[in-house]
């Protein structure tokens, strides 16, 4: 990959970080006429440690849970200045800042109808603080605050359906994407940017530290999540499911065995069966199975 003027090299993301690649794809798709409000989290820390910045677009970080509201203020100011039509506004953060602590501000931003694209980089736990469970941590995941033990198989709750929560606001566009499918991700960001109003894209971004995979396996891990049906790639328009990426489903075990966070499940057919049920449910719900 060539150096990007909008997201420069030299940042301090881990090798094999899916978020760094996804963030670069997002800003390259959105273009230079974009202002970003970024939540506290890995992306903020590894791109903007004073006195350096990786960003070639105007960028602001305020707090953990308020990037939706900060972006709302930016958008309102741009309208006042008569510059909104020529400027994209993106709010972005991780799964915790989006779906847990920041969901109120996000809901407010969506409900008020701001012309903003919200991008959630979903690595399925609080990675910046050391892999603690979030509301978007998948079922049976071993994290530092949902550890596997004699009495537990890890995170006992299903993943919080934040895209559906956003879609329930009736906003023009909601999509899921993956760091493993760059063209699909780019297409969705460009589509979102072309639509006026609030938009939400949630990108599945593997984390080598929290998921425990070999750093050169980022893309294949990301792809397997989609190909098993555990991370369906879909689009909602005005609250209605508008389409999903078709797959020939692979067994979830192929995905689980790539990562240390699921290692404790591999000798338990019963638990694997439960995870398979999650994928099967997605396949049915979003009609993911490719017609043969």
């Amino acid at each position: 990959m060539e150096n990007s003027p909008l997201f420069r090299s030299g940042h301090t993301a881990c090798a094999g970080c899916g978020q760094a690649i996804a963030a670069r794809l997002v800003i390259e798709a959105a273009g230079a006429n974009t202002i970003i409000a970024n939540s506290t989290g890995c992306l903020e820390v590894f791109t903007t440690k004073y006195p350096e910045t990786a960003w070639g677009v105007p960028w602001i970080h305020s707090l953990f849970e308020n990037s939706s509201a900060v972006a709302s203020g930016i958008e309102a100011a741009l309208i006042y200045l008569g510059k909104k039509d020529s400027t994209n506004v993106i709010a972005q953060g991780g799964d915790g800042s989006t779906g847990d602590i920041g969901i109120q501000a996000l809901s407010g931003m969506l409900e008020r109808g701001h012309d903003i694209l919200y991008v959630c980089y979903d690595n399925e736990a609080y990675m910046n603080t050391g892999v603690q469970r979030s509301g978007l941590t998948p079922f049976d995941t071993n994290t530092t605050t949902s550890p596997q033990g004699a009495q537990s198989t890890g995170n006992l709750r299903p993943k919080k359906p934040v895209p559906e929560i956003c879609a329930a606001h009736g906003i023009p566009y909601v999509a899921t994407a993956s760091a493993g499918f760059a063209q699909d991700l780019t297409r969705k960001v460009k589509k979102a940017i072309s639509i006026k109003g609030p938009k939400y894209i949630q990108i599945h971004v593997p984390c080598p530290l929290g998921w425990r995979y070999e750093t050169n396996q980022m893309l294949s891990v990301a792809k397997l999540a989609v190909e098993t049906g555990l991370y369906p790639l879909f689009e909602y328009e005005f609250g209605v499911l508008a389409g999903a990426r078709q797959i020939t489903p692979k067994p979830v075990e192929e995905y689980l065995k790539t990562q240390g966070r699921f290692k404790h499940l591999l000798n338990s057919p019963e638990e694997i069966k439960k995870v398979q049920a999650v994928a099967d449910n997605n396949i049915k719900k979003y009609n993911l199975k490719a017609e043969v």
């Binding site: 202002i35 910045t53 970080h61 707090l63 203020g73 006042y80 809901s107």
Partner: protein, 395 residues
């Protein structure tokens, strides 16, 4: 032009005159009338501001933060729990050196829930890096908002300013107010021209991570600016007086019969009107009493306080807030102002009054003067009800 108006309406009118680009607020009593009036002005097309109706105070503060960073003048108002809910953002705004102006309609804090006035809310946020100025009446509340923007947007300052006005007593009180004319406002307060802003023509990053090699200097810089703001407030008051024909001395303190006084009460906000009346009554009886009214609480004008009280034998500090488990907030500052100095009061006694809207009457102030004796007292509560204390604790 003089008008008989409600405090909140007067504030809305003066904010309208400053033409903010973005206004954002979340409703909380007793701030509501201010933002309702502003919303109506926007709905009528009287101002071009974007009014963002948010889902919480945390977001109200975040919206004005984002808008201010984009280079427009902004306004928000809150009170009590609302201020506490936005506290995280309040600190953040100061750290980012954004010239946000906020009205705090001072109100007690929960629990027990209480919508009436004291000053616990803004005083609890004294360390946030905001300039805090307290109005005695609605004329000041109006004028102080113009001064707030002027100070906040001064390139030497670039810090947020909170104008504190007692909830209900001022916000819902009807008074004669000489409303500043628009052309004078324009003369005193030119449009906001930011030093830095989020602009695609000149991309910058704001709100970066500062590690131990860099963090401390940012806090030092705010502290230095706060100290200098003491002088800037005096400087701005001179210009304000010349444009609007007012008579503000330095916007730090007001001295009321302190020169030859033997007893002086130090207080802040609307209660000072009551204290002035008691001072007048007692002076008429030949008693040498006075009032030192604090206007600026942050920055705290230690030197001015020292000069004003260095020859006064007895000082009573009247706080409308408490620091539970310690001396009352303003009392602490007064004691610090005189510690180790050659001159100063022999007695600095501390009184707490008016919490949760308990009326501070002329008799309450008489009582403070009575209890101000050679025996120093600390956090002595005025106007407690003995019958309620019995219920609570037994005999």
């Amino acid at each position: 032009m003089k008008e008989f108006v409600e405090g909140s309406h007067a504030i809305a009118e003066i904010i309208k005159a400053t033409s903010p680009g973005v206004i954002s607020a979340y409703p909380i009593t007793p701030q509501t009338h201010i933002v309702e009036d502003l919303a109506q002005m926007v709905a009528n097309g009287e101002i071009k501001s974007q009014f963002v109706n948010v889902e919480s105070e945390h977001s109200a503060a975040s919206v004005v933060l984002g808008a201010s960073a984009t280079g427009v003048r902004v306004y928000t108002a809150t009170s009590s729990q609302g201020l506490f809910y936005m506290q995280e953002v309040v600190f953040n705004i100061a750290g980012m050196r954004l010239p946000v102006v906020m009205t705090c309609a001072n109100r007690a804090v929960s629990a027990p829930i209480n919508i009436w006035n004291d000053q616990q809310d803004s005083i609890s946020l004294r360390d946030a890096g905001w300039v805090q100025i307290y109005a005695e009446n609605n004329q000041e509340a109006v004028d102080f908002h113009l001064i707030a923007y002027r100070l906040a947007e001064d390139k030497r300052v670039m810090l947020p300013v909170m104008v504190c006005m007692d909830g209900f007593i001022l916000t819902h009180g009807m008074e004669m107010v000489d409303m500043p004319e628009q052309e004078k406002v324009n003369k005193f307060l030119p449009g906001y021209n930011p030093l830095y802003k989020l602009d695609t023509a000149n991309p910058i990053s704001m709100g970066l991570l500062a590690d131990p090699d860099y963090y401390m200097e940012t806090r030092f810089a705010i502290q230095e600016t706060m100290k200098s703001s003491i002088d800037y407030l005096s400087e701005i008051s001179v210009e304000f007086n010349s444009v609007f024909g007012r008579d503000y001395k330095d916007l730090l303190v007001e001295e009321y019969h302190t020169k030859d006084a033997e007893k002086v009460i130090v207080a802040m906000g609307s209660v000072c009107g009551t204290i002035k009346e008691v001072v007048d009554q007692q002076r008429a009886k030949g008693k040498k009493v006075g009032l030192l009214r604090l206007i600026s609480y942050r920055p705290f004008p230690y030197a001015r306080v020292y000069e004003a009280l260095k020859d006064v034998p007895k000082v009573a500090v009247l706080d409308k807030a408490v620091s539970l488990g310690a001396y009352a907030p303003i009392a602490v500052e007064l004691k610090a102002a005189f510690y180790g100095k050659k001159k100063g009061p022999k007695v600095i006694s501390s009184f707490v009054a008016g919490l949760g809207g308990r009326d501070i009457t002329l008799e309450s102030i008489d009582e403070v003067f009575r209890r101000l004796t050679v025996k120093e007292v600390n956090s002595d509560f005025i106007d407690l009800k003995p019958e309620l204390l019995k219920e609570e604790y037994g005999e």
